[in-house]
Symmetry: D2
Subunit: 362 residues, 4 copies
């Protein structure tokens, strides 16, 4: 259970790291959207391994294929099934990894829940699962785009190194997806240092939603921020989530934190955006700003303490090359989960008023 | 839409601040739980206004009544309907508050979504809505208790004042529900200062779940931490949410953050709990630790800029007495949303393994 | 579990026959609908006991009260809570009824599922539960009405006595809600005969939905007819459900059953309506026609065989006066479950096409 | 929307008749079930075209492949993705069929809902969609089997020809899956006659669930019979659904229809089974008996009236060979939708009682 997301734009994912492939079915995508693999592949490429020295060298093309729901170049309103077949999974010897619990991984909890686990490369809990999220997000982003809404994620910090400028064009220019060239260079040096120490780093991904109409989001439980919190927190390795001022809001006074209103050039605006674009659980028309903290890659080559199946305390060092940081590849995943959530909430929002419903059906 | 929460233990809430009352229906509560108003009222009392000088003097008894689903002192397995009728709402003159948008409130977004709003005391977006959550949480907590699980929330910080010790017995001893007497005293002084300045404060609520079996939580989207993130972020005024190291995890290295495993006295344990009790979206058997940042009360008596219905930029100061801080009364709300979520996830977890299902039906 | 219905227009009901009352919460009702108790009470009155000699003399006013979600005469978009408090439940002696399983009732199955039951008047499985459905249906019907859609249910047959004419004005003129005066008279005579024999009758309720736009209903599982089937079959005592030709469709050939298309006066029409207004799970613009078969009232004064708690085979005769037929009072329940379902499906239908979504958000 | 079914055992299907393939993702299948393609293929074969002269000669192997969720021969508790790729779809000339609405098909309603349609072989509304249901049903049936529950469907009638004996061994022996050899022979003769007349027939599928524990099914809306009604009515061409006495229950008196209880050989039994195994929406421990009426195949070679895209009234005759009856191939589909539903309801039932939950977690 737990692999279905969304109320109207409903995303169901499947697949394991070293199984036959991974995939997603989107039910509830509106009909008439122009769509082909060319819309989705660029998103897959941003997430793909082997892109830089900070990502695993596993050489997967991660080629997406649309199997249903598109006819003559447009979505038909019926489920869109997309797959990325695994090409390079090898029948390696996993007997060692199968015999113990890797620290910081889900090995132990999967065994506790299911009685056993697909231990090959992390199975279902592998980062490879996020391919399916990205494919769904690419479709959602295209819908949002046709409504004038854009979603942009980037790396805000790596370890203690945080961006101090925001240059949107720089995001795609460095391997860490940071909108600050100087910070990216510092972060790269820090990561190389950690790699040399057989250690790893975490970081923060930030995401901005621009162009949102006001009033999107439901009351009480299904607030827009609550749905975003769930969506982003469901990405592996996320340990913190913020909107606007985030955790810092706890330290501000009411007068510091409140956003005033004003009419400017005939339009209603907020005088600031401490709230991060969401008030009372609904979009307020300003940019929505969210952040997610990712912990460091748990797989490190240094020695760590754990236990094995024989009930012994042992010391292990995780074999193979692993990303020294998850964050750069997680950027597009955060962007895509945000897009999926916002898309679903926009569709849910269409039934909020009788006058609009009457107009729709007239 | 948006007032229904949970998959099996399903909570539906209703009611406005100055309407006839507020209430909740729990569908999916197991049969055979001993339950009466006496189990719920103590939770209501912790949330009630008028408890201290830091909460509004509105004098509501907030008396809960069970209308269905309990027979001869035990739950029957059918929906439990509970109400708290509003006693003191007055037909005050709300024409002024109806005429403008209060900064930091949901007035504007409700209008944007629904076309108009119940402006009396905030209507559905009032903190009074949380009464229903607390009533549901009290039931969930009783179920958890029978399974050996406890949920304990408290105030971790007020503005910049954070606890530096943890004395569980102290929590109920001070008006701010802080487990550190000295910090509570400092915080009280800080709040009095802010009140004198017609200002308000925010803070952080922390919550500990003890006694959780390992393996509870679903994979991919419905991870235990993702569901908790949604549950807690759906409480008004929350701007940040953390599990374990939280946002700080982004600054730690893999070697600092990873929790090792060991057998100690014949039992499998983690050697640390940076993860905050959840790995791969499932409980790992350690204490689950979460935190929520609450922004400062937006209603302050100082002057603020906003707009009115006539399209004019105006200056207002919010009338009436308001809590200078939401946090102390939010403590029980966080505890209750946590209990509801954990209860639902425990019930969802029961179908994870064929051997257990076969044993159940044998 | 099981007391929540609908995806967008979400109805949650609660209450037992002899508890404090019954009620319903509607989440997802659009804002701006004019609504008051005066819209709902007439529906309640059609369902109320004591209306004729064919219904139980229990004298309940069944007065509905709206507790939330309506402000200044209009729905606010937030949950509408409605209650009907029980006035006449007495602390009668139920020890006998508690001691055995009534044939044809849910006594045994409730015990099997929950371990015990609220035996007072059938508890949650009582027909009194349908009050909540009717209140929700009245709201749904008002929404449909503003979209030009009407839902009309009536009694099609009582035992073997079926209508042979259809006079819409007659429906409200006889106590059996039959649109055929002569059939109604025959049916009344039949029922009196059965009452004299301490026996009871079943019958068929038919329902017509007029004014439906074409294309409403989802593909595959959530077909409009599938959702209607669930909605109507969830009413106690229903044993069969049909759309259009229904069970008889199995006996027709393709040429007999197919509906052709034609343009007539410039409009696309079907040349017949064997399908009953639904093709491929979606409304086709014709009247939607459905039928539900209700079994006879299980409570009869004649002697029947059953068992008691002591494990003995006994003979009982159900005490008290009971409706000799459920059908007339079920007419409004079928109408209301149909209205709730159609309303929900109309709201779900609004996101089917990109062009309409773009127009909506422009 | 509408291609997701179930609450815990959740089935999502995708695919079109002449697209790349069809498939299904099952989320919520318990871990530890032994499963391979060999469990599923026999079900696929029962549904496959080209099996007899009464089914289309389209020569598809309908080979099922499991892509995820199974490891070392057992389900892992994560989503099971299964596909059947289309092998024989040809890029035929569909321009004619694209230009008009076939009577009795979903061509018109798909256009009304989505603005256009995948017209190749019926697209998503093709019977080929049921492949995915059958694959899911095969998994559900295996789960049920391990709990001692069997689901058996067969053809009860073809046109007016109904079975008069029940010989379980005969079901798989004739091409119509009738448990009565003589009836099957008569029905075959009738179908040959209709084929000669370029006409088609409908019929009734009956299904028996044996071995059900009592008390499975939820109260009020999610009754077991209501869920079965939706599940079976969601199969294309179904126009009527019955449990136990079905529509005939409306003609029986209470004394005729009520099932008494008795202790026999120390076990509680019903003295009859008019209810068809479900009382108050829950299984009563007897066999559950349901029936579905299928209309005749709408595609007939005879001339029929319809309209084309130019707004003209035309006469068409559907080209190609089509099954003269849907029923025999629908038998396994009814069986599978029943299995999926019962499996989901059994899993939902596990949280009904505190004592069982406490025992589970002890």
């Amino acid at each position: 259970m737990g692999s279905v997301f969304g109320r109207i734009f409903t995303v169901t994912t499947w697949g394991e790291s070293h199984g036959k492939g991974v995939g997603v079915v989107i039910d509830g995508c509106p009909a008439g959207l122009e769509l082909s693999e060319a819309d989705i592949q660029p998103y897959m490429n941003r997430r793909r391994p082997g892109q830089s020295k900070f990502s695993t060298p596993r050489n997967e093309a991660d080629e997406v294929e649309i199997l249903s729901g598109v006819f003559e170049g447009r979505t038909t309103g019926t489920p869109i099934s997309m797959t990325v077949m695994n090409r390079t999974q090898r029948s390696a010897d996993y007997s060692e990894i199968a015999s113990y619990y890797r620290p910081g991984h889900a090995d132990f909890t999967f065994d506790a829940k299911y009685g056993f686990r697909d231990y090959r490369g992390g199975g279902r809990s592998s980062g490879r699962e996020t391919i399916a999220r990205v494919a769904a997000g690419a479709v959602a982003a295209k819908i949002l785009s046709s409504l004038g809404i854009t979603v942009t994620a980037y790396t805000r910090s790596v370890g203690d190194i945080e961006i101090s400028t925001f240059d949107r064009d720089e995001i795609m220019n460095n391997r860490l997806y940071m909108p600050d060239k100087a910070a990216a260079e510092k972060a790269e040096a820090y990561l190389e240092e950690l790699m040399a120490q057989k250690n790893s780093a975490g970081g923060v991904v930030e995401c901005i939603i621009s162009g949102m109409p006001a009033g999107v989001g439901e009351t009480v439980f299904d607030k827009l921020d609550a749905e975003l919190a769930k969506a982003v927190f469901s990405i592996g390795a996320v340990k913190g989530f913020e909107i606007g001022e985030g955790m810092k809001a706890a330290r501000l006074t009411g007068l510091e934190d409140n956003d005033g209103f004003e009419y400017k050039d005939g339009r209603l605006k907020k005088t600031s955006n401490h709230a991060g674009g969401i008030m009372g659980g609904m979009s307020d028309g300003s940019d929505i700003i969210l952040r997610a903290a990712f912990k460091a890659t748990p797989s490190v080559a240094s020695e760590q303490r754990t236990v094995n199946k024989n009930g012994e305390n042992i010391t292990i060092s995780v074999k193979g090359r692993h990303d020294p940081i998850i964050v750069p590849r997680a950027v597009v995943v955060v962007e895509c989960m945000t897009a999926v959530t916002v898309c679903d909430m926009l569709l849910r929002n269409m039934t909020s008023r009788m006058d609009r419903i009457e107009k729709f059906y007239k």
